[in-house]
Amino acid sequence: MTSDYAIEVTGLRKRFKGFALNDVTFNLPRGFIGGLIGPNGAGKTTIIKTIMNLVRADAGAVRIFGLDHRAHEVEVKSRIGFVYDVPGFWGDMSLNAHRRALGPFYPRWNDEVFDRLASEFALPLTKPFKALSHGMQTKFALAMALSHDADLLIMDEPTAGLDPLFRRELLQRLSALLQDAGKSVLFSTHITSDLSRIADFITLIRHGEVAFSLPKDELLDQWAVARGDAAMLSRIDPAILRGSRRRAFGVEALVSDVAALRHGLGPEVVIDKPSLDDVMVLMTGEDAHAA
């Protein structure tokens, strides 16, 4: 069993009332960090829940380390560290009791690692889970996830509610985890600035579909934001136009090929490197295709 991919999601479909995942396909190569970005309600959490088999898809396949995630659920899950936005822990149980109850489920559980992380994160081990602040709950979930030598860390909105200090710490821990080329990380977030720097791959989810899934460097080096007057839009090749937005004093356009953009736009156009926020806003905003 040696797959080059930590995660392979193929043709995922799931229909709910008023919302659907539609043909969601993306991969995460082993040894890298992948980010799922997109606005609230785009489907990021549903995709993650489907990968974790907490939601059953209507169609499609999920393979983890090359294994079907349902046929090999126990093995697959023992190798995943899961940090969830609403952590699935018991409110009245102490942190220590959680460790004793959940640790044995993992073949590679390590009490020493847990104790070290617990002291580094200053976790109050004797307190019940519900007594913890949101940030502390996330730290506890992270300590649990890192204590069983997981090969794949899956995190849903891990930085929501965390202060900048701990967000930095989280980044540091993720890079440290990646020192082992066999480990991988998938996280979802709508705060793109945070984890974007260390992410290797970015997948943008929009209305339950994959808008793109690309190496981050390709996205940030080849894409561009152009700002100009309304006439500028008509001079941009539609093949490279990914989104646009009209402002009071001009137009903003997102293009996927900065080299092709430079021809014939005139001197009044300003060309900028895009941030992931620019990409998300211009591709998913309500007036994303206003032109």
Binding site: L178, Q179, A181, R197, K216, D217, L220
Partner: protein, 125 residues
């Protein structure tokens, strides 16, 4: 070895890394055979993605500045003296070309430019 990344720079991060390694190798601050940090170690240190770091190393290797030995790591490549000299001359040539372009834009004639170059050379010798 010192690598500093500017977030606000218009240059892609991998280019910043490539340029800084090159400068240090050409200047001799990084000697032949000196080990470089692993791709993942450098990514951890700079808090950037593994792919970005790998791209920088790939480029440095393609240009002959570093060698990767499977299972051992990455090292500063043996720099042929003539090759280095050529590289440095190339740098001078690029800077001169930029100066020539600037002079052309403001309408300086060749003899004025040549005179300026002569004075500069005498001044520093």
């Amino acid at each position: 070895m010192r690598i500093l990344i500017a977030n606000s720079s218009p240059d892609p991060i991998y280019e910043q890394i490539v340029r800084q390694f090159k400068t240090q190798i050409i200047a001799g601050d990084l000697a032949e055979g000196e080990p470089l940090p692993s791709i993942r170690k450098l990514a951890l240190d700079l808090q950037i993605s593994v792919i970005t770091t790998k791209r920088a190393y790939d480029e440095l290797e393609a240009e002959g500045f570093i060698d990767t030995v499977a299972g051992k790591g990455t090292f500063v490549a043996a720099q042929n003296a003539e090759f280095l000299r050529e590289k440095r001359m190339k740098v001078v040539e690029e800077k001169l070309a930029a100066a020539v372009e600037e002079a052309r834009l403001m309408g300086m004639r060749y003899d004025q430019l040549a005179e300026m170059l002569r004075l500069l050379c005498e001044e520093t010798s």
